[in-house]
């Protein structure tokens, strides 16, 4: 198997293996911890009967690999849960039941997903435009005042934690200046204008930080390309600065930008958790923090797996895009 198709296929197989490995690690870490798993799973406020019921549902008498197998089965084909009196069917992908709200984890996640996706994707558009734009501007005006100012701003940007900038933005824009309302999530399909208006601030807080990283990277990648021999060739052939920056140097920065964007999905998800908590947006992140605080293990495991899923897929897609952007990369 060779060529590009082969590479994509190998990468896809690798991604599936990675996902399986992550599910094993997560499952083992959370369900094979010393102590009374049923008690931890159910949470500190469970009655002994509830704990017993949980122990049955988790099949604690079975060996670990059997339990994992059931868990995996649930994700792939669905699973039935006995809730004492009745049998509840949980269809694939089933991530188990939450013991706090007595709801299915999958439903819980699906309900919160639009908020988080709105936040992350909207912010991503912003940070790519802002970051890459700033980077191009810095590379173009290299050695001038513009570049020094931008360099200072971006440096401050990468050094600022997302919750600090979010707090400051919220206090200044919503509190002091009262330019925007304190964000309240409104569904995209309900009212697109309100959706964007309310998400503006969360988008900005998340995007400003990420944009700084992109600006630094874009600038550096372009400067590196500008120092390469082929740029000298085009200069020696009378090609103008605009074409050299916009066509040749920018093209050289594509691959690093894609790689950074993939790697940043993970950190952006972390940033999204903080942003949601800070602005009180009812997304996955807020739910995860809540589940962690009340120790609702099935929800935590489900959330971690779902987020891990998105991050791994994003990485795989980026790998393929990277190979497309930089065909010189060795396809192994």
């Amino acid at each position: 198997m060779s060529g590009f198709g082969g590479f994509v296929l190998r990468r896809a197989v690798g991604t599936v293996i990675t996902l399986l490995a992550i599910s094993v690690i997560v499952y083992v870490v959370f369900y094979a911890t010393p102590g009374n798993v049923a008690q931890i799973t159910c949470g500190p406020r469970c009655s002994p009967e509830q704990v017993h019921q949980v122990a049955q549902q988790l099949r604690l008498d079975d060996p670990l690999y059997v339990r994992y197998w059931h868990f995996l089965q649930g994700i792939l084909v669905g699973q039935d849960f006995s809730t004492g009196t009745s049998v509840e069917h949980c269809s694939a992908p089933c991530l188990g039941l939450s013991y706090q709200g007595d709801t299915q984890v999958t439903q819980l996640i699906l309900a919160k997903l639009p908020v988080s996706l709105s936040l992350v994707f909207g912010a991503m558009v912003l940070w790519l435009i802002l970051g890459v734009g700033t980077g191009i501007l810095s590379a173009w005006r290299r050695g001038r005042l513009t570049e020094r100012v931008l360099t200072g701003i971006t440096l401050a940007g990468v050094a600022t934690p997302v919750f600090v900038i979010g707090l400051v933005l919220m206090i200044v824009v919503c509190g002091q200046l009262q330019l925007l309302p304190f964000p309240q999530y409104v569904g995209l399909t309900d009212d697109p204008e309100q959706w964007a208006w309310n998400l503006l601030l969360p988008w900005l807080s998340l995007a400003l930080i990420e944009a700084a990283a992109f600006a630094r990277l874009t600038r550096a990648a372009m400067l590196e390309t500008l120092a390469e021999d082929h740029i000298r060739t085009f200069r020696a052939y009378g090609v103008g600065e605009r074409s050299i920056i916009g066509r040749h140097a920018l093209r050289g920065a594509f691959a690093p930008i894609i790689a950074l964007n993939a790697n940043n999905v993970g950190s952006a998800v972390g940033g999204a958790v903080l942003t949601e908590t800070l602005f009180g947006l009812p997304g996955i992140g807020q739910e995860l923090v809540h589940a962690v605080n009340v120790v609702d293990l099935p929800v935590v495991v489900g959330m971690v797996l779902v987020i891990g899923f998105f991050v791994v897929i994003a990485n795989a897609v980026a790998d393929v895009l990277y190979a497309v952007a930089d065909r010189r990369v060795v396809l192994v």
Binding site: S2, E228, D229, H230, R232, T233, F234, R235, A236, Y237, G238, V239, G240, S243, R247, H248, R251, G252, F254, D326, R327, R328
Partner: protein, 526 residues
């Protein structure tokens, strides 16, 4: 009006004067070779002709006129018209000189449209036309390939095609063949020759290789330290050099037709390799680097292994010293059993650990053999340093304090420290200037005579190999195609590939060069 008029040109980078008061002229349609060793400022002159130093902070003085344009004074727009339009440049490394992300044809079309008002389509057609002109087969299709899909020679052809696109009056070629194999080099030089005959453009050829200049230009200008040493017709300068430096330079150039002075070859076998084979990768990606190679090396002799890139010569060398395990075949030391094969490496930068003093590097084999007495170690290392022409006091210095040639001497001392019977030299002089090269080659010969060493000299340069070798093995695609006494191989080669290689070696005498060119045409015509 001359095509190029350079008057009292100086180029300085900070405190360094790269070019120092250089003047010359080049008439329309003429060809001038700028020849010099590294640091002579020859490439800086080439850049100055196109005003490439503008805006880089270099101090440029004097005047440069190219095709009637004053390069120093011209406004940016006019300078851009000059670049590529009236004077085009071909660079040394054809891979890095093209944008890896765009199709070759598009890059040529882009340059064309900078200078000629043309539609995208017309520009592409022009790109295909010039690619065809420089001998790229199936040019219309290949124009859509990106540079890494081309071989080295094809890339250089593509760069020349870019230069031709706007029909310039002057072609500036900066070491255009240095990164290429000798047979490809000959093709490129022949191409430049033909193009010049057909278009009548002037040529300024910058090269470190006197032979390359002799092949391609009418006049030659020898540079050193940014100044002109000697300037005249090729035949005059190379035939009867007037200046001491030119004489020294020419004396150091290895000649492919000069046999080696006989050495004390014995019949005692020190290393024997039989049926060597080495594969890299596995499955469908497997690649045979060395295939069924058998060699015998005798005490006191030099075996030259010569071949172009990818011929497997370096892999063979690494197997002989034991750095690579052969996939099949065996290597037997003659007589002794101790590991007595050492290596001198090509790259003087990476072959010494930058964090350790050279003395410590040389002492490595001694310590590894179990020597504990510091006094004895230091004594032996000092002795070795002096033996290779350095000073005993250099023990505590670090590699970056040495020049390339000196580092190569350190590498030789390190190899000697293990008291080997055989030293494999992997391109030991290819990174060095020609005068340094001659000194290192002389040192190796001297050591061989004194110590009765056997040398395996791996190189791509046929002339250097002839200069040092008693016997020669010619490699191609992992196999030895010809193997025998050096004089026989060089004077009456039997294998067609060996003949092709020898015909491709640039000659110092312009008349011989012309003969060889004819011979090459016949060889390729067959």
């Amino acid at each position: 009006m001359s095509l190029v008029e350079v008057t009292d040109l100086t180029v300085g980078f900070g405190s360094l004067r790269a070019v120092d008061g250089l003047s010359f002229r080049l008439e329309k349609g003429a060809a001038l070779g700028l020849v010099g060793e590294s640091g002579s400022g020859k490439s800086t002159v080439a850049s100055a002709l196109l005003g490439l130093h503008r805006g880089t902070g270099a101090d440029v003085g004097g005047s440069v006129r190219v095709a009637g344009i004053d390069v120093q004074e011209a406004p940016d727009a006019e300078l851009r018209r000059l670049r590529g339009g009236k004077a085009a440049m071909v660079f040394q490394d054809p891979l890095s000189s093209l944008d890896p992300y765009y199709a070759v044809g598009d890059q040529i079309a882009e340059v064309y449209r900078v200078h000629v008002k043309a539609s995208r389509r017309a520009a592409r057609a022009r790109a295909v036309e010039v690619l065809d002109r420089v001998g790229i087969p199936d040019a219309a299709r290949r124009a859509r390939s990106r540079p890494h899909e081309f071989s080295g020679g094809m890339r250089q052809r593509a760069l020349i095609a870019m230069a031709l696109a706007c029909e310039p009056d002057l072609l500036i070629a900066d070491e255009p063949t240095t990164a290429l194999d000798v047979t490809v080099q000959a093709q490129i030089l022949d191409l430049l020759h033909t193009l010049r005959e057909e278009t009548g453009m002037g040529l300024l050829l910058v090269t470190h290789d006197v032979g390359v200049a002799a092949e391609s230009v009418d006049e030659i200008l020898v540079m050193r330290h940014g100044r002109a040493v000697e300037h005249g017709l090729v035949g005059a300068v190379l035939g009867a050099p007037a200046q001491a430096y030119t004489q020294e330079l020419l004396g150091a150039v290895p000649r492919v037709d000069a046999p080696r002075t006989a050495s004390a070859v014995t019949e005692e076998v020190v290393l024997e390799a039989s049926g060597l084979r080495r594969e890299f990768g596995r499955g469908k990606k497997a690649f045979v680097a060395v295939d069924d190679v058998s060699l015998t090396i005798h005490r006191g002799e030099t075996l030259g292994i010569v071949g172009e890139s990818g011929s497997g010569k370096t892999t063979l060398g690494r197997m002989l010293v034991g750095l690579l395990e052969p996939t099949a075949g065996e290597i037997k030391p003659g007589g002794g059993v101790r590991p007595d094969v050492q290596m001198v490496f090509q790259d003087p930068v990476s072959s010494l650990n930058p964090r350790r003093s050279v003395g410590e590097s040389i002492a490595d084999p001694l310590r590894a053999q179990g020597e504990r007495d510091e006094g004895r170690i230091r004594g032996r290392v000092r002795e070795l340093l002096e033996r290779v022409g350095l000073e005993a006091a250099h023990y505590d210095r670090y590699p970056h304090e040495f020049s390339g040639g000196q580092r190569q001497r350190v590498g030789i001392a390190r190899a000697l420290a293990a008291d080997p019977r055989v030293i494999v030299c992997d391109e030991p002089v290819s990174a060095l200037d020609v005068t340094t090269q001659a000194q290192v080659v002389a040192l190796l010969a001297e050591l061989q005579r004194e110590l009765g060493l056997a040398l395996v000299f791996v190189a791509h340069d046929l002339a250097v190999v002839r200069q040092v070798s008693d016997r020669v093995a010619v490699m191609r695609r992992g196999r030895i195609v010809e193997y025998g006494p050096a004089d026989e191989v060089y004077e009456s080669p039997r294998d067609p590939y060996t003949k092709q290689l020898l015909a491709a070696v640039p000659a110092l005498d312009p008349e011989v060069a012309a003969q060889r060119r004819t011979a090459r045409r016949q060889l390729t015509a067959v």
